[in-house]
Each structure stands twice: as C-alpha cells, then as structure tokens.
Amino acid sequence: MTIASGTVREAAIAAPPPAPAATSPARPRKRRQLTRNRWGYAYVAPFFLVFAAFSLYPFMYTAWVSLHETSLSNINGGTWVGLENYRDLLQSEFFWNATRNTFTIGILATVPQLCMALGLAHLLNYKLRGRTFFRTVMLMPYATSIAAATLVFSQLFGRDYGLINTMLEAVGLQAIDWEAGTVSSQVAIAVIVTWRWTGYNALIYLAAMQSIPGELYEAAEIDGASKWKQFLHVTIPSLRPTILFTIVVSTIGAVQLFGEPLLFAGNGTTSGGASGQYQTLGLLMYQQGWSNFHIGQAATTAWAMFMIILVIVGVNAVIGRLRNRADR
C-alpha cells in the first residue's frame, strides 16, 4: 500500500514536462529527494510487500467477511448482510460478558504487573552482586511457552490438590474453587499473565532508568530528597514516556488475551468456564468462528477488538500529547 502510493506519487511527479525552475522551485527538489532516496525505498520494500500480503490484505478481508453471513466451510460464498453482524454483536450478551471479562482481567493483570515491574527495575538498578543473573532470571517467564506455564499454574490453582489451596488450608483458611468463581478465576488468570510479563516490562523500565543522568539523583539528594522521594520525583517523571509505552503494549496484549484463559480451562474449550466467567473476547471470537462456524460473526468480533484497541491507544496518545503540551 505504502509502496504503491509511493510509486504513484513518483510517477505523477515525473510525468509533467520539466517546468522552468522559477515557476515551481519546490518540484525538482522533491523529485531529487525521491530519486536520491530510491535505495532507501528499495530496501524497505520487502517488508511492506510482506506486510501487505500477510497483514493488510487479511485485515481488509476480515472487514469484508464481517459484512457477510458466512460459515467457515464456505468463506467466499456468504451473503451480504451489511452491518447486521455488528448489530447482533452489540446486542449479544456473550459479547458484553466477554468484553467485561477482558477488561477486568486486563486491569487485574496490567496494573500490578507494571507496578511490580517498576519496583523490580528500581531494585535491579542498584549495584547488586550477580545483577546479570537476576536480570536473566527475570526474563525467563517471558521465554516460557504459555502452554507450559498455564498448565503448571492450573495445577497450582487446582481445587482439590492445588498447591495454593493446600497452603490456604494449612494456615486455616478455606480452599477456593479457583476455576468456578468469576473473581477467583479471573484473578488466577491475571496472576499467570502478570507472572509472564512482569520481567519483560521490568527490563524495559530498567533500560530507561539507566539513561537517567546520575547527577539528577545527586541534585535531588542534596535538595534533601529521600530515596523514595527521588524515585517519585526523578525516576517516575523521567520514565513517563516509557510507562506510557508499556501501558499501550500491555493493553493491546490484554485485549487479545487468549492462550491463558483457553488453557486455564484445562479441557481446551473456548467457553471460558461453565458460565463464561472468564471468557475473553479472544475466546469468544474463536468460539464463534471455529466452534460455531460463524466466521462472519467471528470477523466482526475481531474488528470490534481492533476498534477497542484503537480507542484505548488513541486515548493514551491524547493523554500523552496533553502532558507533553503541559510540559512546554
């Protein structure tokens, strides 16, 4: 797409007969710039070709499918229904249930995850013995497959012989049927997500922290700031762009949450628990398309997820810009 428009523009510029420089001085310069940059365009072309074939085209095709009543076995032979799928989706209680679950799990996972990542990064930023070891260890959950991790966690959260319930009982508390309850199941899933992504975010924060000049901390120390105040008044404000970035990335991840709730069920069903108590949008989409074969409906959900992400990222960008403007 980008390439196409690029070449079209180039052609358009090349087409008109060379005008006298006095009448349009901007044009030759623009052309010169394009021809000067032709190798740059050539080098980025492969990426955009692949992008067009495997991202842009499926993306647009999904939009097209979402406007049809169509089944998995006959994707191209659907009947045109316009925005019918979208209307159905907005009236579907499953959709709203999944949206709600996605949001609550998202918040339960993202907020503690980023807070813990910030704290861990701060600790790792001190001169520690074996710092590299700790940093490597932190990234290990990220390198673990979701399937393996979730299987272990669903054992931990098991009702009868799970380690967590055993410990709860050991200290005299009641065992919890983690999978069955709405809150408990969502907490359990949030724990898995948090476990997996905290280290990753911590490393991003750590990298950003290391670029904060040490003099700022010294100045703050002389100004009378305790370590905590230094963290609050020097570290956090300096990390603000990074924090915004991790929020966006984690939010996108949270909206697309799929593997953890799917595997947490233990039996590979996409219903997200007996009463859909932890069915996320990702699970719903899969259920619509690949369990119920309504691929048009699934495409609609996919687009709804995309819209939600767009809105959240947009809001973040606006907040970021407002803060930047306030900075000036």
Binding site: P213, A219, E221, I222, D223, S238, D327, R328
Partner: protein, 365 residues
C-alpha cells in the same frame, strides 16, 4: 553561614594506585570564596563531592561550622550545589526546580513562592518561572541552577565547574555575576574549576591541587607573585611563566650558552640537592636587552593582541638537554616592530626571578 574545614581528608577509590584526594587540609573562612583549581584528575571535584557528601571520606574528617559532617548524608549538611551540567529536573518548571528543596523541607507554598521570586529577581529569571529547562538557553539554565542553590539560603555553596558549558563570552560575563552575587550574599563558597583565569578572578583564595595533593592555597596575588613550587608557577598565569632548568654555575644558572644571573645565597640553597636549578620569570618581567647581553633567542611567532604583543621565542643556541621547558614567552609593546625569525637578547630583573630547586621543585627565596 559557616566555616568549612578539611582535616587530613582522603578519598581512596577501590583498586586505585594512589588516593584521589590525599590528606587534604584546608580551612575556609566564613563568607570566603575559595576556588579549587588544577588540571583534570587532580582531585578537585572529588574534594568538592566529599564536602557535599556525595563521595565517601576514607580517612580524616570534614567540618562545616562546628559540626563534624564526615559521615552525614548530603541533606543534613545544609549545602547547595551547582552542577556542571546543571542537573535541572527536566519535568519541572523553573519555579518548581528552584522550590523543590523548600518543598521537601515542608515550607509552605506561599513562602516558597516568595523566596523563589526573590531569587528569580536577583538572577533576572522572573519571566521564565513557568518554563521548563529545555525551553531555556544555556545561560538561563545556568542561572536556574544558581537560583536553586540560593533559594535554600544554605551555609555553603558548592559549585562544580558551573561555567564550563557556556560559550566564552557568556562565561566571562557570568563569572563576574557569580562573584558579585557571592559578595552580596556573603555565603561561604567552594568553587571548582580547571580554568586558572576563573580561579584568579573569582576567588578570595585559590587552592591549587595536583594528583590529589594540595600544592598551595593563597590569595590570587600571592599565588602569582610567590608560587610555592614549579607546578604552581607553571599553572597560574596566562601565558604561563617561563621556566628554564640548568646547572648552577658561578653567578647564576647556565641556560644554553648564557648564564642567567641569580643571587648567590638563593643559588646555593636551590642547588643544594643535585646542582640543578629551575628559574622562572613571567613574560611581562622580561626586557629586551642590547645585542650581546642576556639570553640570545630567536623569535618564532609574534602574537598581536592589540593591548600588547607576545613573542614566542626559543633559545638561539640551546642544546636540547639543557632546555627542558619549551619556548620562552615575552610580553612587549604591541607595536615594537619585532618580526618572527629575528634574533633578540633578553634580560630580566633579579627581583622578578622565581628560583626553585630542580630536584624538589620547591621555591627558594
């Protein structure tokens, strides 16, 4: 307001061969402007940071007022510091930057605003209070850094090369402003610089350091007129003092084919260690002598400054092993008509000679 004293204070970095600061003894009077000067790596910044509490004191102690602060954290020392890169908080406005220490000290918002405004007025920053550092010029940032120090009304100001990020013209301007501000506030100030002109123009007293060791601490005038050793003699003054080393002979020091006359008793004491003597004389203490008298030199370069001219010369007949130092610099009238390549004869007043023992490098009077 307070006195500051370093008592045998040393800083030894782990695995370092020699201390970064070696048994520093310094007494700084109340309200004094003391400049620490020396080449890079001489330990001047480390000394300042030891006083600030940012660097450990390994042995010895540091006293501010009558309080031993050797082991106190920076915030308990009642000091304010201006950093070389200013270290302004980028996300805070000028006002917030200047008021941050007051805010942490729990001072009310109104009083904070009043004090920040007072400081801003002194520093001509009132128009920029709502700006962030990145929207300021280098000179303005420097003033904000100063302002952050003065709003706190601390006992001691510490300044770590605060002018080195300014351009030459602004540096000269700000130099006088800082000196005037310090006189007006009367706050004890310790100022670090590598620029001896800054040191000479700003300080009540100047402490010259080399390799972590204090060489001399005195008023600018005394440093210039009576440098304690060869290093100080060569470091203070621009262009630097002419230093020549040669064997002590009858009546003076052998420099190339000529003999530089040195009073007898000075010469004998200076030659006591190994018979060689270093003699120094400033460019302005040199006179052009009649041909055949004094040191014969060849003019290499003539530097015209308008108010005066500097002749960069080399000894006409010097074997390399006698002349350890480089060329001799002579200050003359701007329109003396001397051209490069010309042969001249130089003589100096005996009273303007600085005599050093070449072995110990110490001054001999």
């Amino acid at each position: 307001m307070a006195t500051v004293s370093f008592q045998q204070a040393s800083r030894i970095y782990p695995k370092a061969e020699r201390p970064a600061v070696d048994a520093l003894d310094l007494e700084i009077a109340d309200g004094e402007f003391l400049v620490l000067v020396g080449p890079s790596g001489c330990g001047k910044s480390t000394s300042l940071r030891m006083l600030a509490g940012l660097e450990e004191v390994d042995t010895g102690s540091i006293v501010i007022g009558d309080r031993d602060v050797t082991d106190s954290p920076p915030k308990e020392r009642d000091i304010a510091m201006v950093f070389q890169n200013y270290a302004l908080y980028p996300h805070m406005t000028v006002e917030e930057n200047m008021g941050f220490a007051l805010k942490l000290a729990g001072i009310s918002k109104d009083e904070r605003a009043t004090r920040v405004r007072e400081a801003a007025k002194i520093l001509d920053l009132e128009a920029y209070l709502a700006r962030r550092p990145k929207a300021l010029s280098g000179g303005q940032r420097q003033r904000v850094a100063m302002g952050r120090a003065i709003v706190r009304n601390p006992q001691v100001f510490l300044m770590d090369e605060p002018l080195s990020n300014l351009d030459a013209k602004l540096r000269v301007q700000t130099r006088t402003q800082i000196a005037a501000l310090q006189r007006r506030l009367g706050t004890t100030t310790v100022y670090v610089t590598h620029d001896q002109v800054e040191a000479m123009t700003m300080g009540d007293r100047v402490a010259v350091l080399k390799d972590g060791v204090l060489q001399q601490c005195d008023t600018p005038g005394e440093l210039y007129d009576r440098p304690a050793n060869v290093f100080v003699a060569g470091f203070i003054g621009s262009p630097a003092m002419n230093l020549v080393t040669g064997d002590a002979v009858d009546g003076g020091v052998q420099v190339g084919g000529a003999v530089l006359p040195v009073p007898r008793d000075q010469l004998t004491r200076a030659a006591a260690s190994n018979g060689t003597v270093t003699v120094g004389f400033r460019p302005e203490a040199v006179r052009l002598a009649a041909p055949g008298e004094g040191l014969p030199v060849r003019v290499e370069v003539v530097e015209q400054l308008g108010s005066d001219a500097f002749l960069y010369t080399s000894l006409a007949d010097a074997p390399d092993d006698v002349l350890h130092s480089a060329d001799l610099v002579v200050r003359t009238e701007p329109r003396s008509g001397v051209t490069s390549g010309q042969q001249l004869w130089l003589s100096t007043d005996r009273s303007a000679l600085h005599v050093f023992d070449a072995q110990t490098q110490q001054r001999v009077d």
